[in-house]
């Protein structure tokens, strides 16, 4: 039914292309992207399923709101679909959608700060001030919940780099690619963010 498939020369070109690509590292998303471009909805759905957790996770870390994160993730996938022809198949598909997501989140955050200036601050009061085991001062004793809460009080930039590196286990190279800066910058940013978190997690030291 599809006229585009009645194309022997195109198939040959494709076969040659895949032969030449054999030595390159496997690109698991490539077949689905090509099928989705031709209008196969199940291929695009497979792509969405494979990256939805990373995309939604990033949006949630940045926005601190489940409703907004879900909304932005939807929008990001829609834009990915609309711009699928611009996507460079040699680059990781998940990072591409995450970059779209990130831009949407940053736009939203910019608009948000224009509307209300300091509504996120009360979060700091919610934090437990280390009632558990002061004498040990140990981060290891802290509940996972409070680590999440402490992360929630960091700046967007700090949260972002920590979440990408530790939660999503991205390499500094991948993060640099996503954020558009040098890998060395990521190491330094990671260090500062982690130090801020360490200070938040460690109850005030008795002097």
């Amino acid at each position: 039914m599809n006229a585009l498939t009645l194309n022997p020369l195109g198939d040959i070109a494709q076969a040659i292309g895949s032969l030449m690509a054999e030595e390159a590292p496997a690109l698991p998303w490539k077949a689905d992207v090509q099928a989705a471009r031709r209008g196969d909805p199940s291929a695009f759905e497979a792509l969405v399923r494979s990256v939805q957790r990373a995309v939604y996770g990033l949006a949630l870390r940045l926005l601190n709101s489940e409703a907004e994160a879900a909304e932005v993730s939807q929008e990001a996938f829609l834009r990915a679909y609309q711009n699928l022809h611009r996507y460079d198949e040699s680059r990781p598909f998940d990072l591409w959608v995450m970059a779209i997501t990130r831009n949407l989140c940053l736009d939203l955050l910019r608009r948000r700060t224009k509307v209300r200036t300091e509504e996120l601050d009360p979060m700091k009061e919610v934090l437990p001030s280390g009632e558990a085991s002061l004498e040990e001062g140990a981060i290891a004793r802290q509940e996972r919940q409070s680590l999440e809460e402490a992360m929630g009080t960091l700046s967007v930039e700090d949260r972002e780099v920590l979440a990408l590196y530790y939660v999503q286990k991205r390499t500094t190279k991948e993060i640099a690619q996503l954020l558009g800066c040098a890998p060395g910058t990521i190491m330094a940013r990671l260090f500062r963010a982690r130090e801020k978190l360490r200070k938040k997690m460690t109850p005030e030291e008795p002097t």
Binding site: Y56, Q74, H85, Q142
Partner: protein
């Protein structure tokens, strides 16, 4: 006591990442630095244990519902590319048919190209890539035909066209 020689934390952690370095060697024998490294190790362990929350179960269905109302990505590009190709083909054929007025027409075409050349080139590029992705064979044949037609047209234009200074 040892704190005077203690390295900058950032240097220490950079070396920790690299797996070697003078600061790391120092830390091995310095109680202050090894305590910091231990604290760091614990924090990292906890951080690594964090997981991304699961997206709402409706996310995929919602995305696909919105995608269903969109045109096929490739077809969208194909139409844009085809219309531009047909338009440029028309201009080219027009140039060939009306030979005596060819140069003045070329002038207006060039002027138009200068005004919205960027848009045209962008459109052409994405359209061409879309066409190439779907139908590399026919496109190659079409390009060859187009090249021959243009070359013969150019030959005729040079052969009996009006002198440039008269235009």
């Amino acid at each position: 006591m040892t704190s005077i020689q203690c390295p900058d934390l950032e240097v220490l952690f950079t070396e920790l990442e690299a797996g070697e370095g003078a600061s790391l060697e120092h830390a091995a024998s310095c109680p202050l630095c090894s305590a910091i490294l231990e604290e760091h190790r614990q924090l990292e362990k906890d951080l690594y244990r964090l997981a991304d929350p699961l997206p709402p179960p409706t996310l995929v269905a919602n995305v696909m519902a919105r995608v269903a109302t969109e045109p096929t990505p490739l077809r969208r590009e194909l139409w844009a590319g085809l219309s531009i190709l047909v338009a440029s083909l028309g201009v080219g054929l027009g140039l060939l048919i009306s030979n005596d007025q060819a140069l003045s027409r070329l002038g207006t075409a060039l002027a138009a190209l200068f005004t919205d050349g960027k848009v045209l080139i962008q459109g052409l590029a994405s359209g061409a890539s879309a066409i190439w992705n779907t139908a590399a064979g026919p496109v190659a044949a079409l390009l060859v035909v187009l090249l021959i037609v243009s070359l013969s047209g150019l030959k005729r234009l040079v052969g009996n066209g009006p002198h440039p200074s008269e235009a």
